[in-house]
Symmetry: none
Subunit: 124 residues, 4 copies
DNA sequence: GTGGTCTAGACCACA
DNA sequence: GTGGTCTAGACCACT
């Protein structure tokens, strides 16, 4: 599992890391029951602050992806299914983006093509 | 044209306003050639600072949605079409969201349903 | 002599008018000794405020293009030649623009082409 | 890299600073990959407000000269090349200036001399 | 400590 | 009256 962080990106490092880990779990590179690297190791590997790593692990634990235990580090669990409320939250984030796309005169076909492309890329 | 701002949201006020104005232009509530309210009026209407409104107007002008003149206020123009590069930028923003959706075990059909729903809502 | 003013432009109206009048004098459409339209006439013709026209006439008089008399209106004189100091002022305005052009990786040949194009257009 | 700001000039402070920074990048005094001073440091160095500096950094980032990150400051990137549209914008700004130059009875040779002089100075 | 947002009040150029 | 610039001080997110 190789993770690359772009410190210059406008996307916060903790979000990049979060996305990368979730993608790793999704794609099966990190399997259920496996342990993630320790906060310290992962931090120094990626050249980022260990507080940042700890924060991400905390978020992933909150969202149910992993379980944090005092001595055994971070263990991967089953990703929680999306309920109606969670879905609504995603839509809230997506709506303004879709609005802007439409403002830019994109048509429905282009929109679908784009979304399919994203779906395919997301398994990278 | 009714705009509501949620000051407590984590989404910056200026972005909420930007989205609302673009949506207004898109949906035809604000037509090409029409004038937007002055920064002072809109600011006091919404209970936000005129500088925040100014910032939004500046961004919309930069992106080609409106034209700003010192004495005639903000006039709505034609929204600029989306080129390939612009499209790529949108995809960059969307990709991590799609990845997280997939992590949450959404399937392709649900995904399409969601995107269609968003498309329909975006015309508000 | 037809003058068109774009009220929406980011260029101040008074500058557009100033440029147009100077161009008219340069191109011979308005000749030495002739009278310009009255402040009132020109203002209502162009649909702009007569204060704005008055301001332009004042500037042109200051710069020596025309002479203002109480009863005879604005009479065209000889355009003043450019002395070293005047030249330096122009260069001060132009330098940052040239700097930005170079920053954008324009080469000397493109630069010359652009300047020649401008020279030719300026007699429009 | 020495920057001097003339607060009394009619040219906005933020534009003076923008020009100076672009010139610094162009002339190699600030190299690709280097960090600019923080908004606070540069502001207090120059005796101007940090928000004014922030505005300039924002513009430079929009135009692609630098990249801004929350914690690593402003990093110099590659200046973006000029496309046809960008070129047209420059010409729009330059045309009235050239018209006025011609009105002042400058001839083509003087014009070329002036432009060459500017070209040479711009690498300062 | 970094940049990002918001508020606030002042003064200016323009019409 | 309009938008444009500058200053100022506060709080926030991120590292």
């Amino acid at each position: 599992m190789i993770i690359s962080i772009d410190a210059r990106s406008s996307v916060p490092i903790y979000q990049q890391l979060k996305t990368a880990l979730i993608a790793g779990i999704l794609s099966g590179q990190i399997k259920e029951g496996e342990r993630l690297a320790s906060v310290r190791d992962l931090g120094s590997d990626l050249g980022i602050n260990l507080h940042t790593v700890r924060k991400v692990y905390g978020i992933l634990a909150d969202e149910g992806y992993i379980e944090l235990t005092r001595n055994q580090g971070a263990v991967v669990g089953k990703p929680p299914k999306l309920d109606k409320e969670g879905m609504a939250q995603f839509e809230k984030v997506l709506l303004p983006i879709v609005i802007e796309l439409r403002a830019r005169d994109i048509d429905k076909e282009q929109y679908h093509q784009m979304m399919d492309r994203l779906w395919d890329e997301s398994i990278g």
